[in-house]
Structure formats: structure tokens, C-alpha cells
């Protein structure tokens, strides 16, 4: 049986870093305060491999890219995800493109970590779920875990990957605890979603903090006799398309939930995926429940108003289940106005 220890997501990340630095002498950690905050790593692995940096994200990222191409496996902590805007050139133009443009002469095994998400009331310049921006950049991989075990397993997988991986850590999850496998060969493969709850009436797809929102909604729906399946994507690039399609073909309804804004987001991609590859299975329009196309406020009340809540998910699923109930599903959109049980909910932003 797998031995487990209860710890926070932040502790799980630290354990992953420690194990991978032990496992591979080429792994090094750089960032503003990594050596200050993780003295034990400096003690065990030396100041060469655990480096505080100037407060300059562009050169932190650029240095990581140059070092990765030269035989090291850097992990950089860029603190808050919006600071990655300063690091975009190195990550997007160099790490994501120079392997391709050089005809495969270089590889860039590096990990860039950024925190984001609601919960700390830090406002839009520290809280911006911009993961989809990096999904749109070729040559990069993007992960965003929801559970402490995945924080460990995905960070280890990211460090071992030969490609640049963006690791987004949801602020609201960092201090939440969970069971984490002790094994130092525990790896969560990049590109594999996790089925968090089995259901038959609707598929709820999410990642990071809103996985818990979906699980709470699923419990509320169960009380009303509706069986919701919950998928935690874990990786946003590559996306586990098969996991989503398999579930949608079974439940025939799809709701995507994320804190990031909706326009050109992960939800849009999954809606297109379902429309393109599971069209015949769908009984109702695909619904996206996302943050708004607006900067995030600091106020707790406005932060919470901006992101999907369990009740929002539950209400949307109830509408979806009622949608087209009086007519064959394949007639749904062709029915004259008023004949539908409810208006289709194409997208809601909260």
C-alpha cells in the first residue's frame, strides 16, 4: 500500500523540489527569495543550486532558458503569475520557439512557477489567471493542480520533462491539506486528467480551485437526484481530450468551470472540442461558468462575486437538465421560441 503523509500543497511542492534536487544534480532553483525561504535546500544542495535573484523576472526567466539549453534543469519561482508578463519574452519567444526555429538543436527542460487565483484579496496585479495565454504559446506545457498530491506529482513530472512547463499554483489551495504519497518516484503524468467523481447526467470539467466548487455542486445535485461527473484537468496543455470526450459521450451534457475569464479560455477550447467531436452526443448547449473579462478586485466580496460558486454550478446544471426535456434533443435549437423549457445558457460570467 502506498504510504501517505498529510501535508499542504505548499509543503508538497517543497517535497517535490527536494526530491528532484536529490534525484538529479542538474536541477537548480532560482527566484526572488527561494534561498531565503527554503534554507534547508541551501544547506543540503548548496548556494550554487538554490539562488536568490535580483527582482527582475525577465532576466530570471532568460537565464533559466539559457541554462536549460546548456544542460541544466532550472526551476524558477516567479512569485505571482502576473509578474510573468515581464518574463514573457524568454518563456514565449525563446523557450517556446527556439527549439523549433533551430531545427531541434536545443531543448529547454525548465519549470516556471507562478501563483494566482482568489483567496488572498491581493487584486488584479497579483491575482490574474492568465494560464490560457501560455496555452496559446507553442512549445510550452501548462499545468495547474487542484490537490496536494498533484502539486507534488505534477511538479516532479514538470522538472523531469524535457520541455518548458508553466506551473500555476492556485493561491487559495496552497495551505489546504491532503494526503500526499511519500514515494519519491510518485509522478503525475502531464496531460492526464483525473476523474474526481463518477456521474451519469452531466460532466463538470474544471481545474485548480474550482474543482472543489464542482465537487460541492455535485453533492448538492445528488440531493436533487442528478448525478454529476467531475473531471479535474490538472494539465491545460496538453489537454486530456479523451477524458473529456469519453465523459461527455456518456453524460451528454458539459459544463466547464474556471476562475479565469471565458473569452478564448480553456472553457472555449473544451466547448469547441465537444462541438467538434461529441456533437451528436450533446443533449444541451455547452455551458461555461468563468470569471469575468475584468481585472480582479481586492475586496473579498468582489473577489467572490467574480468567480463561480457551487450554487452557480448547481443552478446551471438544473437548467441544462431541464433544457429540451419536452422535445427530442436533436430538435432542441430548431424549436420556435417559447417552446423551450428554458433559454439556453451559452455563457455566464460571475
Amino acid at each position: 500500500m502506498t504510504r501517505m503523509t498529510r501535508m499542504s500543497a505548499e509543503q508538497a511542492m517543497h517535497q517535490a523540489l527536494r526530491e528532484e534536487m536529490q534525484h538529479d544534480p542538474d536541477v537548480l532553483l532560482m527566484g526572488e527569495g527561494v534561498a531565503t525561504k527554503q534554507r534547508d535546500l541551501v544547506t543540503d544542495f548548496g548556494a550554487d543550486r538554490v539562488r536568490n535573484t535580483p527582482l527582475a523576472e525577465a532576466i530570471i526567466a532568460g537565464t533559466a532558458v539559457g541554462a536549460a539549453a546548456s544542460g541544466l534543469r532550472p526551476v524558477i519561482d516567479l512569485l505571482f503569475a502576473p509578474f510573468m508578463a515581464y518574463a514573457m519574452d524568454a518563456l514565449v519567444n525563446s523557450a517556446g520557439k527556439l527549439r523549433y526555429l533551430s531545427g531541434g538543436q536545443f531543448r529547454f527542460p525548465l519549470v516556471a512557477i507562478g501563483m494566482t487565483g482568489t483567496g488572498w484579496c491581493v487584486g488584479a496585479q497579483h491575482n490574474h489567471n492568465l494560464e490560457a495565454m501560455f496555452v496559446h504559446a507553442p512549445g510550452l506545457k501548462v499545468v495547474m493542480p487542484a490537490e496536494p498530491a498533484d502539486f507534488k506529482g505534477l511538479l516532479k513530472a514538470a522538472i523531469r520533462d524535457d520541455n518548458p512547463v508553466l506551473f500555476f499554483a492556485d493561491l487559495g489551495l496552497l495551505h489546504q491539506e491532503g494526503e500526499v504519497p511519500d514515494a519519491d518516484d510518485f509522478i503525475v503524468p502531464i496531460g492526464k486528467a483525473a476523474l474526481r467523481r463518477i456521474g451519469s447526467d452531466v460532466t463538470l470539467v474544471s481545474y485548480a480551485k474550482t474543482v472543489a466548487v464542482c465537487l460541492e455542486a455535485a453533492r448538492q445535485l445528488a440531493d436533487r437526484g442528478i448525478s454529476a461527473e467531475v473531471i479535474d484537468l490538472r494539465s491545460l496543455k496538453p489537454l486530456d481530450e479523451d477524458a473529456v470526450l469519453q465523459s461527455v459521450r456518456k453524460t451528454r451534457r458539459l459544463v466547464i468551470v474556471h476562475e479565469a475569464s471565458g473569452l478564448c479560455g480553456i472553457g472555449a477550447e473544451l466547448a469547441a472540442l465537444a462541438a467538434g467531436k461529441a456533437f451528436a452526443a450533446l443533449r444541451a448547449p455547452v455551458v461555461r461558468l468563468t470569471g469575468p473579462d475584468a481585472p480582479m478586485a481586492s475586496s473579498w466580496a468582489l473577489e467572490q462575486a467574480a468567480v463561480p460558486q457551487p450554487e452557480t454550478v448547481t443552478d446551471s446544471v438544473l437548467e441544462l437538465v431541464a433544457y429540451g426535456a419536452s422535445a427530442p434533443h436533436w430538435l432542441g435549437d430548431a424549436l420556435p421560441g417559447g417552446a423551450m423549457a428554458t433559454e439556453p445558457v451559452l455563457m455566464k460570467s460571475y
Partner: protein, 322 residues
């Protein structure tokens, strides 16, 4: 080659390499006139490339930019494979994926060429850090080539600060060619700004006539020796001039003709040729033979590039990921 021999052979070799770079880039200009993709040439800046690259050895790495033909050729790149790359063919150094703008040749130690102005400065410290941490051959340094335009990017300061503070074995080479795309640098900075900014970061800085290949070479030899001995970075500002436009084609209508003429009179190849004639290291017959040899190499290169196949369309998605 020992030092005594190099006193005679070095200057001749540097002239020949500059001639090859010039002929190669003139050939690219002609290809562009016939419909090939345009390039950013380094015509007029050959002494910078040759003088510095000849001061490096096989342990060293070069990180360069979009105006890279001189650095590559001085490092021994095959003009045929370079030209094939510019024409988008499979035999190019990058299989045709780069074109002229971001040619890397790992086998020559020319790594991570970035066409984002300032990108080269962001990447080079990491290459040097890896060398310092035991990757690559012991004692290797990184020479990073950039222009006065890149010196206006914030990353210029970030890279210098990190290199100084982390004691990275780096040679910063600013080829100050007076032009930042379509803007003269004196519109954007004080005349002596680049060297002063660099000095402010606390590393040895020297400003050198970038059109005098021997002056560049001497300064680079000294700088490289200093970097190897100390493990710390040095900075060379090479004053030179971009004789052609930012990109081909470019009518240069924005260029002051008097300024251009003054710099053409100090053309680096002309200066080296006159120097060698004066010193009796070459004569008219020797120059003609050198020119002929260069012409033949470019003809061979062109034939090779034009005979090279296009990449197969089904190779489109190769090398996106490792």
C-alpha cells in the same frame, strides 16, 4: 599557430574572412532582389565579428542576434549551409525553420540566436551560468553580440547586473552601428551612453574602433584573457556603422548621406586592405587571388543552397516539443 606566425597570417586571414562575409551578404542582397526573403545584413560591421570571434576558442559559446552572418562565418560556418537556411532549405543549419533571422549552429558553439532585440542578452547569462556550473568544457566563456538598440532595452541592465553579481564568464560585445532599426541612436541616447551605462554596473569597459579589425582583435584577446583569469565579465563597445538598411530592401532615404560617406571612407575591409598593402603583407596579385577564392566559395555556396530540397510539408510539426 604560434604567435610569431600569427603576426603575419592573422591579419591576412582576418581580411579574407571579412571579404567572405561581405561577399556572402552581397549575395543575399542579390537573392532578395530576385525574390528571396530579405535579410538584416552586417555590411560594414565585419571587423567586429572577425576581431572578436577570432579571439575565442572552441570551448567558448557565442550568443548572437538577427545580424549574425559575420559571427557565424568567422566561427567557421559553411556559407552553403547558411545560404540554404536563408532560402528555407533542408540543408540549412536549422533545416530551413530559421531563415536568416535566428540561425544557431550548435556544432560551432553558436547557440540560441534570438532576433528579439535584447533576447540575446536575456539568454547569454544562463549559458554562462551552465559553463560556470560545470557544463561544457572547463574555462569556456560566452560572447554575446548585441547592438545599440538592445542597449536601450531594460534587459541590458538586468543582464549586466546579473553577470557582474554572479561573476559570470561573459564578454559583452556591443556592436554600436549607430542605427536602431529606422532611428539613429543619437535620437534615443547620449553619445557616450552605452559605455557609461556599462561602467555603472562595475565591470571593465573598453570602447574600440569597430572598423579596425586589428584593434578589435587586440581588445578582444585582452578581454577574453581577463575573463578566463578572473571568471568575471568584460564589456566591449565597438563603434561601427550599418552601411545598408535595417532590412533588405531598404532605400535608406532616412540616412544622412554625409554621415554614410564618412563611414564608407572608413570601411573595415578597405582599412585592413590598405594596412596590409602598406606593411607589405600582401600585394595586388595576392589581393586578386583572395578575391577570386572568395568569389568561388560564394558560387559554390549558392549552387549548394539552390540545389538543396525544400523541407517536406509533413515535417511541419517536427521539433515543436522535445
Amino acid at each position: 599557430m604560434d604567435h610569431e606566425q600569427d603576426i603575419a597570417a592573422g591579419p591576412l586571414r582576418r581580411l579574407e574572412t571579412m571579404l567572405l562575409i561581405r561577399a556572402y551578404e552581397n549575395q543575399l542582397v542579390e537573392l532578395q532582389r530576385n525574390g528571396a526573403p530579405g535579410t538584416c545584413t552586417s555590411v560594414g560591421q565585419e571587423a567586429c565579428a572577425v576581431g572578436v570571434v577570432e579571439a575565442l576558442d572552441v570551448r567558448d559559446r557565442i550568443v548572437t542576434n538577427h545580424r549574425s552572418a559575420g559571427h557565424l562565418i568567422a566561427r567557421g560556418a559553411d556559407p552553403g549551409r547558411l545560404m540554404a537556411e536563408v532560402l528555407g532549405r533542408v540543408d540549412g543549419y536549422c533545416g530551413g525553420r530559421s531563415g536568416s533571422l535566428h540561425i544557431s549552429a550548435r556544432e560551432l558553439g553558436v547557440v540560441l540566436t534570438s532576433t528579439i532585440v535584447g533576447g540575446e542578452l536575456s539568454l547569454a547569462p544562463g549559458v554562462a551560468l551552465a559553463q560556470k556550473m560545470g557544463k561544457g568544457e572547463p574555462g569556456g566563456i560566452v560572447a554575446v553580440f548585441f547592438g545599440d538598440g538592445a542597449a536601450c532595452e531594460g534587459i541590458f541592465h538586468e543582464a549586466l547586473n546579473l553577470a557582474v553579481h554572479w561573476q559570470l564568464p561573459m564578454l559583452f560585445v556591443c556592436e554600436n552601428n549607430q542605427w536602431q532599426a529606422f532611428v539613429h541612436r543619437l535620437e534615443t541616447m547620449a553619445d557616450t551612453a552605452i559605455a557609461e551605462w556599462a561602467r555603472g554596473h562595475g565591470l571593465p569597459v573598453e570602447t574600440v574602433d569597430g572598423n579596425d579589425v586589428e584593434a578589435v582583435h587586440d581588445a578582444a584577446i585582452a578581454a577574453v584573457a581577463g575573463i578566463r583569469a578572473s571568471g568575471r565579465p568584460c564589456f566591449l563597445e565597438l563603434s561601427t556603422y550599418r552601411q545598408r538598411g535595417h532590412f533588405e530592401p531598404d532605400d535608406q532615404a532616412y540616412v544622412d548621406p554625409a554621415e554614410l560617406q564618412a563611414w564608407l571612407a572608413r570601411d573595415p575591409i578597405r582599412m585592413q586592405r590598405e594596412r596590409l598593402l602598406e606593411r607589405g603583407l600582401i600585394d595586388a596579385v595576392g589581393l586578386a587571388a583572395m578575391a577570386q577564392h572568395t568569389r568561388e566559395r560564394i558560387e559554390t555556396a549558392l549552387a549548394f543552397a539552390q540545389a538543396s530540397a525544400w523541407p517536406a510539408p509533413d515535417s511541419l510539426l517536427e521539433h515543436v516539443y522535445a
